[in-house]
């Protein structure tokens, strides 16, 4: 059954369907909510970074009240559906899957700012039948980019916002299908904030997007649709920091990523993203019962993210040695400095932080001065801004055959072919006044003689001079190819509506290195392709089955159930030990296995609608990959976690009461668990050594982070005479921060002395963030200007200005002790990394005024 829903995840539309409202009113309300919701999703909740640490699933459903509302309602705290990684959610466009093959995620910046183009979407919750795939455990969605399906007419939207950006303007035009079989749709959008207007200091936003679609219906059977689009976004990022920094800055939105240069504000971390895409679709109505949809998709994604790097004093204003608590042991429990002099040093540092904003931001003038000084003696720049590039070329082909065998049985089958070439390299972005820079591993300099090959990032060009724009450190491609067949049978029998689906696929991947890292010098016996050239090819066969059923018990009651089993090939992003250095695959790399089940009860009466769902998902043999500075190795480290076992379970409730014809009461709630079910094997490589070490990460019980695992919402929705008022009270709790693996390595626990008398380890508790209550309000009205609708809507989030709600963050991968690399003896540090996780907090009261006019 094809469900032609608008962006239903953003809507409370499903509940409204059963109630008598005139069509125009519903359209207007829908329109306004969509605008708000699309804004919230694409700009605030969803990570737009290619290397995002926080990503969110945009799950959707047409039949489940909880699923269809949850993402929109809880977007201010970056709620993740069932705490899943977004790689478990599949995104399609006209039937072709467009998740990035390398990491499994879909980057919403691809379609950012083109809200009118992304409204038409089919969606499927994890155990809902659909017309385009076997849905993932995080649900699936399918954008409809056919020109004839867009709203006819013109529309102008203007928005004033105080969030990531300050202003937005959009224009769209849809022609509808004319008598000659042609249809056209186009939209353009611009979003803007500069460093004086953005809600978070030191950030800006500059994005233009455009979308064009042309469709030609040749006859009743054949039509072709071509859609092309792109969103060029340039934006400065906000960094997480510690509670100590937020206290010193007296600002929960303190951002350490910017500073002053010559008196002007300058951001150090800027993301530049442009993903021009094209999608060609052939719809073939074979006969009344059979349909074939085939789409070809191509995208060339350009993504770069800058960061300030250094070979000396860390220039970050929130570097740990800059904090007052570096001088004095404020935690008491540690064996740090506690003398009167230490206290005075603490107070002095505190006063310095608080005295001036400039004292707690980057001082670019100092960086230039230093680089200019060292350049006079021919030395390399100490500070520079580099840009990490993650570009990719994706080509995808998807074809779906849809056959209504009879009124009760429907068969779908499809094929998905995909290829992705990920191009990864770093370039010198700005030498900050320096004259010289060479492509050598300065971090390894103290461990090898100056002539050692290990110091070279590229032995094919040793000591290569680097100028602005030149590649440095690493340069490699990762090629991934995937083929998948799937089929689904949907059938009605008696009181049941059921489906069964299956898929089988194959994936292969390899790395192609363009630099010969000095740790893999063929002259020292390494294989000539250990770092440079093509790696071996890893191949995986995967697949899965899934079935679900709805039992209509009568009287509006229904029981829903679903069960699935799946094996997923590992993504290339986690498949290599150290892709920046060599061609080696992670040992013990295998398919991740997923078992999932769901049981629900639904009630639909004239005055009430309810969904109550319980779910359980178990994953085995997963692989994860991280990289960070590892204190105990005194080096940057690449860490692979293998044989990962996780468990996800919980209950979800959606409830809607119709109090009067104008007033609804909505209740949404979830209580969830999502954690490592066992300890994890790890292998890690130090960038200054090039050798792989193994250990066990004692992370059993560590929970998924960056999302509330408990949340509840009560809302009032009132509409009368084209006025729409919504008031929602939301409570969030059980917000965990991303756990640091290195803090729980067996060796680290031993070094920290975290061992019981019986020899077992004492595992540090996972850092948590505070939850809390947030009140959201919106009011809108639809006017008629020249017989055309003009909608005005004001949405205010966090009306009570609660700035204490943590939306995510991470434990620092640093140790509370320093370690002697020869003897293994440790010295307690005064600064406590374990007590200073980095956090993000929800923005205080914020809002958007949105006006749109259709003509």
């Amino acid at each position: 059954m094809e469900k032609k829903l608008l962006l239903a995840a953003f809507l409370s539309l499903p509940a409204a369907i059963g109630f008598a409202q005139n069509n125009a009113t519903k359209e207007a309300e829908k329109d306004m909510k969509q605008d708000n919701a699309a804004f919230t999703f694409t700009e605030q909740q969803l990570g737009e970074d290619d290397d995002m640490t926080q990503n969110v699933i945009m799950v959707n459903s047409n039949s489940n009240l909880y699923t269809s509302n949850v993402g929109y309602l809880w977007s201010p705290v970056r709620f993740k559906f069932r705490a899943y990684d977004s790689k478990y959610s599949e995104t399609y466009m006209n039937g072709v899957q467009v998740n990035n093959l390398e990491n499994g995620q879909f980057n919403f910046s691809t379609v950012g700012g083109m809200n009118d183009a992304t409204r038409n979407q089919d969606a499927a919750a994890p155990f809902e039948s659909n017309a385009f795939c076997m849905a993932g455990i995080g649900g699936s969605s399918n954008y409809d980019f056919r020109a004839s399906n867009f709203a006819v007419g013109q529309k102008v939207t203007l928005s004033a916002v105080n969030r990531n950006y300050s202003a937005r303007a959009m224009y769209s035009y849809g022609s509808g299908l004319n008598e000659k079989g042609w249809a056209f749709f186009g939209t353009i959008g611009y979003r803007w904030a500069d460093m004086n207007t953005a809600a978070v200091k030191g950030t800006f936003y500059n994005s233009i997007s455009g979308f064009l679609a042309v469709e030609k219906r040749f006859d009743d059977r054949h039509s072709l649709n071509l859609a092309v689009w792109g969103n060029h976004a340039e934006r400065a990022q906000q960094g997480a920091s510690t509670d100590e920094a937020y206290w010193l800055a007296n600002d929960r939105q303190y951002n350490p990523y910017w500073g002053y240069q010559n008196g002007e504000k300058r951001a150090s971390r800027i993301v530049n993203n442009f993903e021009p895409s094209a999608l060609l679709t052939w719809d073939y109505q074979i006969n009344d019962r059979m349909k074939l949809t085939t789409s070809a998709f191509i995208k060339y994604a350009l993504y770069s993210a800058t960061r300030l790097n250094y070979n000396g004093q860390n220039p970050a204003p929130d570097y740990w040695k800059n904090f007052p608590s570096y001088n004095y042991d404020v935690w008491g429990a540690t064996d740090g400095n506690k003398s009167q002099d230490d206290y005075l040093a603490w107070a002095e540092s505190r006063d310095y932080w608080m005295a001036s904003e400039r004292n707690r931001q980057i001082n670019f003038d100092k960086l230039y001065y230093t680089n200019q000084q060292v350049s006079t003696t021919g030395r390399d720049a100490i500070y520079w801004i580099e840009a990490k590039h993650n570009n990719h070329l994706a080509t995808n082909l998807g074809s779906t055959f849809d056959w209504s065998i009879n009124k009760s049985i429907k068969l779908q089958a499809g094929i998905q072919l995909a290829s992705n070439k990920g191009m990864h390299y770093t370039t010198m972005h700005d030498m900050l006044g320096g004259q010289y820079f060479h492509n050598v591993n300065t971090y390894a300099k103290g461990s090898y003689a100056s002539t050692a090959s290990e110091l070279q990032y590229d032995l094919n060009n040793p000591n290569g001079e680097v100028k602005e724009g030149d590649k440095m450190r690493y340069d490699y491609d990762i090629i991934t190819q995937n083929a998948k067949l799937w089929t689904a049978l949907v059938f009605d029998k008696g009181i049941t509506h059921s489906f069964a689906a299956a898929k089988i696929g194959g994936q292969q991947m390899w790395r192609d290195g363009h630099m010969l890292n000095g740790f893999y010098d063929p002259a020292k016996g390494w294989d000539k392709n250990a770092s440079y050239g093509k790696s071996k090819t890893a191949r995986f066969l995967d697949g899965g089955v899934k079935a679900g059923s709805t039992l209509n018990l009568g009287g509006g009651s229904a029981v829903t159930m679903g069960i699935g089993a799946e094996a997923r090939a590992p993504h290339a992003k986690v498949a290599f030990v150290s892709p920046e250095m060599n061609n080696n695959f992670v040992s013990n790399l295998k398919n991740e296995k997923i078992l999932s089940a769901e049981l629900g009860y639904a009630l639909n009466t004239k005055w009430m609608r309810m969904n109550l769902t319980g779910y359980l998902t178990h994953t085995y043999d997963g692989t994860e990959w991280e990289n960070f500075y590892f204190d105990d190795g005194n080096s940057f480290a690449y860490v692979s976690l293998t044989d990962v076992k996780k468990i996800y379970y919980g209950a979800e409730l959606g409830l809607k009461f119709k109090v009067t014809s104008n007033l609804d009461v909505n209740v949404i709630g979830t209580l969830a668990e999502a954690e490592y079910a066992d300890n994890t094997n790890i292998s890690y490589m130090l960038s200054t050594k090039g050798t792989v070490l193994t250990d066990v990460c004692h992370n059993k019980g560590m929970r998924e982070s960056g999302t509330p695992l408990a949340a509840a919402s009560v809302g009032l929705s009132y509409s009368i005479n084209r006025w729409y008022i919504d008031l929602n009270g939301n409570y969030y709790d059980r917000i965990y921060l991303s756990d640091s693996p290195s803090m729980r390595f067996g060796r680290s626990l031993a070094a920290a002395g975290l061992i019981e008398n019986d020899g077992s380890f004492i595992i540090p508790d996972q850092a948590k963030g505070k939850g809390g209550f947030m009140l959201d309000f919106s009011i809108g009205h639809q006017f008629r200007i020249a017989h055309r609708p003009l909608s005005v809507n004001l949405m205010i989030t966090n009306l009570l200005n609660n700035r204490n709600i943590c939306t995510g963050g991470y434990e620092q991968s640093r140790s509370d002790y320093s370690i002697n690399s020869t003897t293994g003896t440790t010295n307690q540090r005064t600064y406590s990394f374990s007590n200073n996780p980095k956090k993000f907090y929800a923005q205080g009261i914020n809002g958007m005024l949105n006006i749109n006019y259709r003509f």
Partner: protein
């Protein structure tokens, strides 16, 4: 279909693309009327030299003694050593016009980036501390270790940045050999001593100075032995080496974290330049970087 509308939209996209130029512009280098480091408000109201400072605070070299410098006085000195290779770590060495020397301990890395050798600075001594670390006079801040001993240690970055001023003058400093090969007019020549001359130097008067010891070789140097690899360091983070020609009262100190830690030690005779600190009764040479090593032909 309204072709005009389509064309208008296309034109709008093209125009808008032109207006959305990058926000992260090409940044011009700052123009420095004053250095961005240090405290440019420091006034030369009472400029003193190191000898005068020592007179003001007689316990300047006493171990486990930190004397708060409470008199307004500015020390005018130039940099002789910094952390360019990390061997002199969290510290600089300074000398005045008379050649007297001091160590200043600072809780910063990459000090060499703004205080290159030869740079003249004013240090406002009031508020800082002076004391001995192994009887080596040192300016810093008090630190009490776990044994309850207080000694002069590193000045926090924020205090240090408020306590000095970069002067517009910079000295050229050359070794004897450099002066012979590439003479610079007016350069300050690093004093160079033969082994016998060096043995006779007064450690109290000369400790902390930038000096050259001529014609020495390192015990155990075999072309493979390095200055400070972690295996030789054992449980320490530094390696102490000795001279073939001198007693163990003369040491070469190298940190395992310094940039030349894994460079092989030359086997022959060398002229070694560096900061000659004292550790109680021992001379301790801190080589600043590999340029301090001159092979004797």
């Amino acid at each position: 279909m309204k072709i005009n509308n389509i064309l208008s939209l296309l034109a709008l996209i093209i125009c808008a693309s032109g207006f959305t130029s990058c926000m992260d512009k090409d940044w011009d280098a700052p123009t420095f009327e004053q250095p961005p480091y240090g405290n440019n408000d420091i006034q030369a109201t009472n400029v003193i030299n190191i000898a005068q400072l020592k007179q003001m605070y007689p316990k300047y070299a006493d171990n486990y003694t930190c004397t708060l410098m409470n008199k307004e006085a500015q020390l005018k000195v130039y940099i002789t050593g910094n952390d360019i290779s990390g061997n002199l770590y969290n510290a600089i060495s300074v000398q005045d016009e008379n050649g007297d020397a001091l160590i200043v301990a600072i809780s910063e890395n990459s000090i060499f980036g703004y205080l290159p050798v030869g740079q003249e600075i004013l240090i406002e001594t009031k508020g800082l501390y002076i004391g001995g670390y192994g009887n080596q006079p040192q300016i810093g801040q008090p630190f009490t270790n776990k044994s309850g001993n207080t000694y002069v240690s590193r000045i926090s970055s924020s205090i240090w940045q408020n306590s000095f001023k970069i002067l517009p003058t910079k000295k050229n400093i050359q070794t004897e050999s450099e002066q012979a090969q590439h003479p610079i007019d007016g350069a300050t020549i690093i004093p160079a001593y033969t082994i016998d001359q060096f043995k006779k130097l007064d450690i109290e008067k000369n400790c902390g100075k930038l000096m050259t010891l001529k014609g020495v070789s390192i015990k155990g140097a075999d072309g493979k032995k390095t200055w400070a690899n972690t295996e030789d360091a054992g449980s320490q983070t530094s390696v102490t080496l000795y001279f073939n020609e001198l007693s163990t009262s003369f040491e070469v100190y190298s940190s395992t974290y310094c940039k030349f830690a894994y460079e092989p030690i030359p086997t022959g005779k060398m002229n070694l330049t560096g900061i000659w600190k004292r550790y109680n009764k021992y001379w301790e040479l801190i080589i600043r970087d590999l340029n301090d090593i001159e092979l004797v032909k």
